[in-house]
Subunit: 346 residues, 2 copies
Amino acid sequence: MPVGTQGTVKGLTPLQIEETGAQIILGNTYHLMLRPGSERIRQLGGLHRFMAWKGPILTDSGGFQVFSLSQLNKRTEEGVTFSSHIDGSRHLMTPESSMKIQEDLGSDIVMAFDECPPGDADYDATRKATERTHRWADRCLAAFKGRNQGLFGIVQGGMFEDLRTESVDFLKERPFSGMAIGGLSVGESKPTMYRILRHTAPLLPREKPRYLMGVGTPADLVNAISVGVDMFDCVMPTRNARNGQAFTSEGLINIKQARFREDNTSLDSKCPCYTCRTFSRAYLHHIYRAKEILSSVLMTLHNIAYYQNLMIQVREGIENGSFEQIRQTTIKQYGALDIAGSLEEL
Amino acid sequence: MPVGTQGTVKGLTPLQIEETGAQIILGNTYHLMLRPGSERIRQLGGLHRFMAWKGPILTDSGGFQVFSLSQLNKRTEEGVTFSSHIDGSRHLMTPESSMKIQEDLGSDIVMAFDECPPGDADYDATRKATERTHRWADRCLAAFKGRNQGLFGIVQGGMFEDLRTESVDFLKERPFSGMAIGGLSVGESKPTMYRILRHTAPLLPREKPRYLMGVGTPADLVNAISVGVDMFDCVMPTRNARNGQAFTSEGLINIKQARFREDNTSLDSKCPCYTCRTFSRAYLHHIYRAKEILSSVLMTLHNIAYYQNLMIQVREGIENGSFEQIRQTTIKQYGALDIAGSLEEL
C-alpha cells in the first residue's frame, strides 16, 4: 500500500496512483484528524470522495503517530493525551475515539488502537504495553460500528517471542477481519526484526489477511512473504523518491549522482512505468538537481510502480513455483539478509 | 504558451500539459544553457526528446534573463558578459551564441537576441538599446542556421511610440518568421503598457504571427488580442498556482482562504479540467495548507487549462462574432482596464 498520509500520496494524482497498479492505499488517522479533521471529511463525503480515490483505503489507528510525532504525549489506561504537532492543541485519543474517527473517514480497513513499545523496550515494559494493547483491542471491538468496514487486530510483543505468541493467541480468537504485526521496524536491528517476524507470521491464522505494518525494503517484503505475510505499507518508495533514490532491477540508485548526467537510458530498463517509458536518467538527474517538483512526481511514480510490479511477480511466482527464485534475486539486488538464514546469521 | 523554464512546466508531466489543451510551450534558453547545458541537451537528442514534449517549443533568446537573473552583467556591442546565478561562472552571450544555443536546443521557434531596457529607461537610453537590438537582429539573421526552425524578431522601443514605430519599420522588412513585442510588462504601469501595446500591435505585419512576450493576466490577453496579438507566454498561471491562486470564471480566488475549508464545490464550476472534475475546493484548500506537492500540481493543471480554454473561446469568438463580449466579460471578471478606453483612462 502506498502511503497517503495527509489525504494524498505525495505528488501523485489518483489517476497516477492507479496507473502504478496500486489497488489500495493507506491514510494516516493522526494527520487527518488534526487537519482537516475527521468530522469535516465525513461532512465532505468521506476520505474516498475527499481525495478522489476509488479503490480501498486502510487507515491506521493513529496510535503509532501519537507516540512518534506529537509532543508531550501521556499514556493512561483510558488512552493517550497529546499535543498536535501542527498547532499544539491538546487531544485525547482512545480506542473508542480512534474507531469513531476511522468510521468518519470511511476507510475500508480500520486498524485497532494499540500501544507500540519502542524497539529497545525491556521485557516488563513490553509485556505491559502488549497487555494494554489486548485490553484496547477488546474496547475497539466493542466500539467498532463500521458498516462496510473491516477491523484488523494488531499483534504486539516487541522483540520477545513468548509475548508475540501470547499476543497472537489472544487476538486470533477475536472476530477481526485481518491480523497485523505491529511493533517492528521501530529501531531494532534487521536480524532482530527478521527473528521476530519469522517467529510471529506463521502463527497467524491463514484464513485472514496478514499485514506487516510499516515495512519495508523490497528485500524485507519478499522475506516477509516467505514466512506468510500478505500486506504491507511503507513510506519508503515515496519518501526515497523525493530524495532522488530509485528502486530498480539493478538495486537502489541515487539519481543525483554525477554519473547519470549524460545517461540517455531509462531509470530501470525492466520497468514499464510512465517515468521509465518516457524519460532518461539524464533528464531525471537534471530535474532533481534543479529541485523541480516534477522530480518528486516522476521518481515517486516509478518507485511505487516498482513495488507493485515486484508484488505482481511475487503473486505469479507463488502460483507457478518461481517465488523462491524471485526472493533470492531481490535479496541479491539489494545485498540484503535472508530471513531463512541461521539464527546466528540473523 | 505555458512556461517550462528548466525543461519542465513546473509540476506537470507532458501528458498533463497536453491534457490542458496547450499546443506549444516555452523553454528558457538562459536556464537551460547553464543547466544542464545546451550542448548536453543536443547530445541527448534535443529539448523535445529530453523533456518528452511532442508539440512545438519556443525558446526565448536568453537576453531578458541575462539582464534580470544573472549577477554582474556587462553589456557591450559584442554581447553580454554575465555570472551564472547557479555557480557564479562567467559567460559571454552574443547574438551568434544565442542562435547556436537555440539551435542546439532544437526548439521550433527561435527568438532573436535583443536588449530590453527597463520600464523606466529614458528616451536616450531606450533609443540606444533599440538601435542595438536592430543591429543584433541582423547579426541573428546572419548567424541563424536553424533547420526546421523559425526565427522571430523582437520589437523594442520602450514606452516611446516613435521608437516603437521605428523598431517595427526596421524589423518588418527582414525575413523573420514572426514578430514579437518585447520590453513590456517590465515595471511600467498598466495604462502605459496598454498605450504602447495599442500603438505597436497594429503596426505589425498581419501575415506573420504576432507575439506579446511575458504577458499576462486573462484581461491583458483579451485586450492584447483585440489590437491584433496572436501569441503569449507568461509564468502567471503556473507561478500563481503554486501560491494558491486560481483563475476562475468568478475571477481570481485564493484557495488558502478559510472560506473554502468546507466548500464541497469544484474550483471553477465552468471548467472541464481534471482538477475541477475531480476535487472540491475543500480538498484543494487542505492540500495547499498541508504544503502538499499535489497542491501545486492540481492548481497548475487548472490554471493552464483555464488560460487554454479562454483562448479556445476567443478563437471561436473571433469566428462567430462574440469575441468583444468575451473580452468585456473577462475585463469585468478581473476588474481590469479596457485597452480601448480613452488615453486619459489609460
